[in-house]
Amino acid sequence: MEQQSDNAILTRPETNSGRVIISDKTPEPMSDTKRIKKSYRQIRAEKWFRHLIFYVALATIILVLGIMVTLAWQSKLSIQSSGFGFLWGKTWDPVRDVFGVYPFLLGTLLTSFLALILSIPFSFAVAIFLGEYYRKGWVPDLLKNTVELIAAVPSVIYGFWGLAVLVPIVRGFETKIGVDPVGLGIFTSSLILAIMIIPYAASLGRSMIQMVPANLKEAAYSLGATRWEVIRSVILPYTRSGLFAGIMLSLGRALGETMAVTMVIGNTSLIPKNIFSPGNTMASVIANEFTEADHPVYLSALIELGLVLFVVTVIINMVGKRMIKGFSN
């Protein structure tokens, strides 16, 4: 009877008994040459398949190298003409061929960090809720799935909703506090970004918190700690690097986000005066101006901007992933 359950995995669905069917006719024994030919065929096919998957894996490496080379090659023109002033130049003037991306760096950093600050309390709350307080049951399942759905909604829909609903609200708020009631700007973009990046730190944090060994927690409880004290003194220090990695991943996502930000940030290439001013991020500049860069240096400057964005996001993502790997080991 035990044999049957092992066979169950290996047999094809069309057999109805879960057992290998032995036919009534004994198959004709294969001639030697046929058997040899079949073996050679199989060996060749096996080699072919092994080579196939090898080259496919190699191709992924070539793909990434190709991306980096393309970006670097196309930015060459701009690197030669702008030099390092590209990164801290305060003026982006395509007419006079002056390309300084400091306003966009500032815009990107402001929106991303503000979004991070706004979203961290919520991400951590969800992570602790699901990892520590309520691990099993249909309520935590529902919460977990809903939070993951936040990440599933397309960015352009967040942008459209932001444009239609959030911008008038922020405009009303700005009128009350006496700032230019534009509605569009860094603050609004940060709000939408904050909503969008909650799931990343939340799900990573949840896995990290669930991995805390039970005996550590039980030791703390046996010493008379309350739940909060266990969280504060045992769980959080233990998962510190994992939580930090979650923050890195959220940050990486926020830095590269394009569509939602482009729709609500106000698209101004000036340095933002305060968090309520309109501005631009590196990604939104590329989105707006790419199809109309009408001379080679302009296009090259935009590609160089893409290269900077690429390098920054990849570094942050890799740091985050390394920390997770280090934590799991």
Partner: protein, 281 residues
């Protein structure tokens, strides 16, 4: 002493309440957004909406047929490119865990996952639009395929790693060659994990706009030619949402509603599929 203990317990309960409050508060914006979009968009959807082409600026009665067809074609083409590629790569990574190539390949897949979608759009422009001399939905599909790749590869790799080694060994013991072991035994066993990775990757690219901005470009007519520009739902939403015309806003709401429901359905079906496999995607 008793008061101090009460204080500590009070803090603990307070923190728990705070956690619950924040977690629930987290979910509120999402529910609000979903309800708003569905309610704003559902009234705009009717048969005309789904089958008409956009009308000239300012005229009523336009529809989104070109965007619907375009989205389907672009996603189908991306899937055809990315899925075989991704599954084969995932197979390599799970079968050769410790080789040098696997290490670098995994690293590159991680890098790919972190690249902003607009940068991938730039690269696709230089690889496909310029050489082919024009915008095409194929270039958009390639950009989207590059974005699908990491998700498919990781889900395939992790699903296959979860399968017991005894399965492989039993198949080898029966004398099966390597490719048969993989294609006839391992992959079918892990098919639901792989399938959920595929569905997740499709859900991811359905809503992507940035790479399509300068690859697929847009088209007011129905088109099935992948070497020419094509319209897609997210592109349409972006263009119409930022326009001043109320008719176009209505179209954008309807399109957002459809896109949202499409993506949510994909994600929910994936979750139901992954129940069987505790795959960390």
């Amino acid at each position: 002493m008793r008061n101090h203990v009460k204080y500590r317990i009070g803090k603990s309960i307070g923190f728990q309440a705070l956690t619950i409050l924040l977690s629930v508060a987290c979910v509120v914006p999402l529910i609000f957004i979903l309800v708003y979009i569905i309610q704003a968009g559902i009234t705009k959807i009717n048969w005309q909406f789904l089958t008409n082409l956009p009308k000239p600026v300012g005229e009523k009665g336009g529809g989104i047929a070109n965007a619907l067809l375009g989205s389907i074609i672009i996603i189908a083409t991306s899937s055809v490119i990315a899925i075989p590629f991704g599954i084969l790569c995932g197979i390599y990574l799970s079968e050769n865990k410790n080789s040098k190539l696997a290490y670098w390949s995994r690293l590159c897949i991680d890098v790919l996952q972190g690249i902003p979608s607009i940068v991938i759009g730039i690269v696709a422009y230089f690889w496909l639009v310029k050489p082919l001399g024009g915008f095409s939905s194929l270039s958009g599909s390639v950009a989207l395929a590059i974005m699908m790749l990491p998700i498919v590869v990781r889900s395939t790799e992790e699903t296959l790693l979860l399968l017991p080694d005894s399965l492989r060994e039993a198949a080898y013991a029966l004398g099966m060659p390597f490719h048969r072991v993989i294609l006839k035994v391992i992959v079918p066993c892990g098919i639901s994990g792989i399938l959920s990775g595929v569905m997740l990757s499709i859900a991811r690219i359905t809503g992507e706009t940035a790479p399509l901005l300068f690859t697929a470009f847009g088209n007011p007519y129905l088109s099935t030619n992948i070497f020419k520009p094509m319209q897609s739902l997210p592109l349409l939403i972006f263009n119409y949402a930022t326009s001043p015309y109320n008719d176009w806003h209505d179209l954008a709401w309807g399109a957002s509603c459809i896109l949202l429901i499409w993506v949510l359905l994909l994600n929910i079906s994936t979750k139901l599929l992954t129940r069987k496999w505790k795959v960390q995607l």
